[in-house]
Symmetry: C2
Subunit: 289 residues, 2 copies
């Protein structure tokens, strides 16, 4: 089955874990609204690609890991779009969750998606308890308050920003989770896969900064030039456009070079290049988020 | 070691999982602010009491379960106090999290506490993988969008409220988690413990409704008469004060009768009565939350 189909199927299975007649109807409809239709599903795609490169001998575990990771990403979009943060009206080409369902349900849907991510992993716990426990630890670390996306977003509320820690947590964390969880799901060591995730995250961040500065119109609906408008740190603001473009190429070369030895090493290098081409394009509704 | 000390120690151990030099400082200080000093720690106290009644043969697992449950409770307080929900200025006798740290960090601290709850459980995964996986599933179910506290809070955003589902999820869910997780942590079946949790939750809800209606002053800082002011469902509003008081006594008798056979059955009955006395008192800063 193609990887993108595995991701959509696994997300649908995850949602079925909270399908219950006693669930409050509006919250129950806010969850699929936050998940479908997706963006490019880049993080779970990387996760499954790494799992495949490592043999993918427990596909149900890999699928659950991919869904869990994307659920955390969807939760972060729901919360980051709130009025207290980006106050975004649009997301993935439609009204943002809080515009469609109101702020209370946007907070609660985000919370519920975080919970569902861990529930999705524990639901396959008996397939490979050691791996699943390690997946839960890794996902929690890359989501939470020290090195995770919560830390990343929180840097925007600090009077003094540690730029390296900010980017590494805000954008890098879920890419590190993607490569490491892919390896763990297939029974490989996580540690050698951290560099690849870090570098893909850096590339994604620089590409996003470039898109923010360059896009003539924003087809995904996010107002352009947000970084400058909100006085947020950005590679373009510190290096200029050409400097940022050169930096992006260097990062991608480093990413390819960092791929650990594994059966599917060559295929994975191709995927990194393909993903890079996608994230370097002018954004479309489908390629963003 | 006394149970209350075990809970505080375990919460401190949980926090140490996100102590990192690269963590954003304000978020890092918002987490202990949301956790310490605690309220009565009723939920983890029930959890450890049930674990003890069942033999408590893996105390590190029970401790982690107790901390995880209290972290979820603290997260729910942080988010429920937000302007989009109760817009509370005070919590546990001091400024609510969003008043002290601002709304963005209150959202992110709540998110981080949810994540930390699951991380706290996975950190003891190797002690007893089967039990810990079941603890994660149970905690997720009682936190999430169908039957958990997220569902409970979401009922307040529904045009039509299913009162039974509302109370069972909003207040009952974490008490069911408390009794079931205590049993699971000690290697017992979860299912027979659901009724006890449900009934303690119902008692707590009715006591809270009574306190909301009766308290001459609210020492915990939550404005009194909120249920009527916010047009929220309440036992006092549907049964009157005397009716609600009689109902509370019936529920407590049922709770005692529901305790499954276990080595510490008698001690547990005493705990339920003791807890009931505490929650039926006029609230103090320490006894609330």
């Amino acid at each position: 089955m193609p990887l993108d189909q595995r991701i959509e199927d696994s997300l649908a299975r995850a949602l079925s874990l909270v399908a219950a007649p006693e669930a409050p109807p509006r919250l129950a409809s806010a969850l699929p609204y936050a998940i479908f239709p997706g963006g490019a599903r880049i993080r779970p795609m990387i996760l499954l690609s790494v799992a495949r490169a490592c043999g993918d001998d427990r596909p149900l575990v890999s699928d659950a890991a991919a869904a869990a990771l994307e659920l955390i990403h969807c939760a972060s979009l729901a919360h980051d779009d709130l009025p207290a943060f980006d106050n975004a009206d649009l997301r993935r080409g439609k009204a943002s969750l809080h515009r469609a369902y109101g702020e209370p349900l946007a907070v609660l849907a985000g919370d519920s998606l975080i919970v569902l991510a861990f529930q999705t992993l524990s639901a396959v716990g008996m397939q490979a308890p050691d791996r699943v426990m390690q997946l839960i630890t890794t996902l929690a670390t890359r989501t939470g308050a020290a090195q995770g996306i919560c830390a990343g977003q929180a840097w925007e509320s600090e009077p003094q920003v540690d730029l390296r820690a900010y980017h590494r947590a805000k954008t890098g964390a879920l890419f590190i989770a993607a490569t490491q969880m892919g390896a763990i799901a297939a029974g490989h060591e996580a540690e050698p896969w951290e560099d690849l995730g870090t570098l893909i995250g850096e590339a994604f961040q620089v590409a996003d900064d470039l898109k923010d500065a360059l896009s003539p119109t924003d087809l995904a609906g996010k107002p352009m030039g947000q970084d400058a408008a909100l006085d947020r740190p950005s590679a373009v603001r510190s290096m200029g456009i050409e400097g940022a473009q050169k930096h992006l190429k260097d990062i991608l070369s480093g990413a390819i070079a960092s791929i650990p030895q594994c059966p599917g090493e060559a295929d994975l290098a191709k995927l990194v290049l393909g993903t890079a081409r996608r994230i370097m394009d002018i954004p479309t509704a489908a390629a963003r988020g």
